[in-house]
Amino acid sequence: MICLDALSVDFDERFQLHDINWTIQPGEHWLIAGANGSGKSALAAVLASEGTYLAGTLSGVPDRVALVSYERQAELIEAERRKDDADIVDVISEGTSVAAIIDADCCDPDLAQTLIDTLGLRPLMGRAFRKLSTGETRKVMLIRALSSQPDVLVLDEPFDGLDHNSMAWLQDHLSALAEVLPMVIVLNRFDECPDFITHIAYVDNGRLLHRVDRDNERAFAELYQLLHLKTSGLEIPAADPTARLPALDPDAPLVRLRGATVRYSDNTVLEDLDWTIEVNQSWQLSGPNGSGKTCLLSLITGDHPQCYVNDIMAFGFQRGTGESIWQIKQFIGYVSTALQWEYRVGTGLRNVIISGFYDSIGLYTKSTDTQKAIADEWLALLGMSARADEPFNTLSFGDQRLVLIARAMVKHPPLLILDEPCLGLDDMNRQLVLALVERICLHSETTVLYVNHREQDRVPGIDNHLTLTE
């Protein structure tokens, strides 16, 4: 059993892994997944004794760990180059031959020969290792690792750069090896995950965030989605070019409340609050439950009936002067748990997203082809393309939240209100939501109003804070 206990590791002060807790039991085969730069290669390298330990322990690692990775490959090439430089004789060295490189670590010559043929390296055996192409070098690395009779095999992106036939062969070979040898594989593309993998480790920002048993279908699907959001190159879909919102005065605030007060016969929820939200000025609104956050938001969205007795300027309208609520809502995208409770419809996911163009719960109008196409782009971004017609109310709570965020953003509103978007979500779904919010914040020109009852939970990129007290 390999055991990483509260392990923190430094890699040349360039990168650190933090507080890794991970056990690999006999019989388990792990896939390490994560976005680029998340630390998944570093975690794999730790198993091959790389890095400087800052804290914690690593135990149970067997003697012979074979690691195939770009870093190892680069090191070997670098070493070959240095040999050249060290040679001061004027005969230009060809460097070590491929055959010699393979021989160096070889414990199973028969296997090595088979591999050389299978991967089509036979004609290159006499060549200098450092003259090979990247793909060829990678094959050599694989042959070295596989024929070294390791106790554990750690492969970082083993299928990269392999042609179709080599890849198919390697996959079969690994499946067979899995019977006798524990394996840890790093992959960028989740859909290449080999069948023998039993567990998935998800790394983000130098931390091991999730360990998922593959038999847990739900967790597996969520992780798939998270990776998709983190790693797919898809952009936030554009707004509908045929539907222009009325222009807003760029110098006027989006919203301005003066002396906002909400009072019932037996209690006062808000008193004399002034607040101005300028264009492109994202805000975080915090405060304990019952401090009036939702009430304040509903004054802005127009859902609170007392918005008509307050001095509120919203999107160029002084409230209560003959504007309709739909003229206000057209400028706002809105997500909250309450909305989710309200949205109990059996409408398909595509239509739920399209309903964001109309600010309606459910869809009551025939949608245009452009709207459909945009909704489909959002579904692709969420990794839900195949589920466009699934009824919304059969989705998991976390998936519903993602779809509602897409619905709120679909028209690229000038103001996006996220009222506790992570409330009620488990850790994985929180990360899914945050990954999506992060993408939205980075990409669009929408001003974000993020509501969170814990002031400490700050969102990167939001510098204005308003805290309500009880």
Partner: protein
């Protein structure tokens, strides 16, 4: 005051009854323009008053409330409703003289009194609006000549009127202009703008007449909508008790059964509701329904006749004058019935089981819907109106039974509907007595006891033909088709 309907010659009576047209969305292109900038004052802030007011204000219109003095002085619920929702509240004297449109949303029973009080204060050339035409049609209220009188009647309880608007939709709405009071010919434009302000245009608007609205509304609510559900609940429960079914189960089967069964009705009419049964059960339900229709037909005719002649409203108004003695007595009796007093158990009943074990309930819905529709149309009410007042509204009322049984249903519907419902129930329970003696738990409580679902082909074809060719199915198909264009895409 004379019954207005009875003052008209037959030819005009028929013309008014026959008025009903499903309006197209593009007829509402002007939106709320006809009301923009006009001062709308609502009298009464109850279920309809508050919720219609919230919608109208959110549509950009100027809304305030005139309440009777006691309501303001005692800060009654109606006053709180208006104040906490940020509306201006004032007395009649303060608000009415400057009002352009006055919305009378007080209980029907109070209309004569209220309208007589407010009329002298109303501005010359202003508009008076109702959400139900009883006062005009049955009580013959005479409104000043210069005042335009219109009706905008949402076909839903007030809470739904608001909830659907907030979702971006609306509820089906009936509008009408009182021919005798349309001095400048502006009635229709105002009614249309008002329907847009409440969101009704999105769900479908029927252009009708005061007379058609009242005569069909009364008929529907007394018979199939409330009466049949009440009678059916009581009879089916007592039968199941006699058959040894667990009381908690029986209570649940009925309380939620109406809602489940009529949900199928809402989506695909009587045909779809019947199709949810197995073939042998369908044939059985069909036969039971035919039998009940023959038994109940004279009762449906009597209700319609009494409504047409004004006998019904006269009887009810006599009870109003007698401090609602009958109504309150019947209400108390209902609370004491075995069905009402037996709580539903928490046994799981699947959606399909409500059909399989509730064959008699399905038959009752079919019989009631078809009879009410047939009776209304044969009395000169146009098929569109008859459809809305029978089949269309049945699921809405069934929802109220699901919430809290008959108590909830009777609390939600108007006093007028409640009164008519009890009248029907008192006649219908004994009328179905002999028929019910022949019923067993196979049609209510347990489901058919058959070895397999074999049926005779010819018989099944006959039964299916009969179900599908009923006129309520023809008009239902057309109207649900219209509605689907505008309705939520489910």
């Amino acid at each position: 005051m004379a019954n207005y309907f009875n003052t008209l010659p037959l030819r005009e009576q028929l013309a008014e009854l026959g008025k009903c047209r499903f309006m197209h969305l593009d007829e509402f292109d002007e939106g709320v323009d006809a009301l923009r900038g006009k001062k709308m004052v609502i009298i009464g802030c109850g279920a309809q008053g508050l919720n219609q007011g919230l919608n109208l204000r959110d549509s950009g219109l100027d809304v305030s409330y005139a309440l009777r003095e006691q309501a303001i002085a005692q800060q009654r619920q109606s006053w709180k409703n208006a104040i906490e929702n940020g509306f201006t509240v004032g007395t009649y004297e303060e608000l009415l003289p400057t009002a352009d449109v006055v919305l009378n949303l007080t209980p029907d029973k109070q209309h004569t009194n209220v309208v007589n009080t407010i009329m002298p204060m109303m501005k010359h050339g202003s508009c008076l609006s109702y959400s139900h035409g009883f006062n005009i049609v049955e009580e013959g209220m005479q409104v000043r000549d210069d005042i335009t009188v219109i009706m905008v009647a949402p076909k839903c309880p007030g809470s739904e009127v608001r909830a659907e608007y907030v979702r971006g939709f609306g509820v089906p709405t009936l509008i009408a202009v009182h021919e005798a009071n349309d001095p400048n010919g502006q009635g229709l434009a105002l009614a249309k703008a008002y329907a847009v302000g409440t969101g009704g245009h999105k769900a479908g608007v029927l252009m009708s007449s005061f007379i058609a609205e009242v005569k069909s509304d009364l008929m529907g609510e007394q018979t199939i909508l409330c009466g049949m559900l009440q009678t059916g609940s009581l009879l089916c429960f007592d039968k199941m008790m006699g058959e040894g079914i667990d009381p908690g189960y029986a209570s649940k089967l009925i309380q939620y059964g109406w809602e489940t069964i009529t949900e199928a009705l809402k989506y695909g009419g009587v045909t779809n509701m019947m199709d949810r049964l197995s073939n042998p059960a369908k044939i059985r339900a069909f036969e039971l329904a035919e039998e009940m229709k023959d038994i109940m037909r004279p009762l449906y005719w009597k209700h319609q006749d009494d409504i047409m002649t004004g006998t019904f409203s006269k009887t009810m108004m006599a009870d109003w004058a007698n401090d609602d003695a009958e109504l309150l007595g019947w209400r108390a009796d209902t609370a004491e019935t075995a069905f009402e007093k037996t709580p539903a158990s928490d046994t799981e009943i699947s959606e399909q089981e409500y059909f399989d074990n509730g064959i008699l309930m399905v038959a009752m819905v079919k019989a009631g819907v078809e009879l009410a529709f047939e009776t209304m149309t044969s009395a000169g009410i146009i098929a569109e109106s008859a459809y809305y007042e029978s089949l269309h509204e049945t699921p809405l009322i069934a929802n109220t039974v699901a919430r809290k049984k008959l108590y909830e249903m009777n609390a939600t519907i108007s006093d007028t509907a409640e009164y008519g419902c009890y009248l029907y129930n008192h006649a219908c329970v004994p009328l179905l007595g002999d028929f019910m003696k022949g019923m067993r738990s196979d049609v209510i409580g347990k489901g058919l006891d058959v070895a397999d679902n074999a049926v005779d082909n010819a018989r099944l074809i006959d039964v299916n033909d009969a179900i599908r060719s009923h006129p309520v199915e023809a008009i239902g198909g057309v109207l649900r088709g219209h509605m689907a264009d505008m309705k939520r895409i489910v």
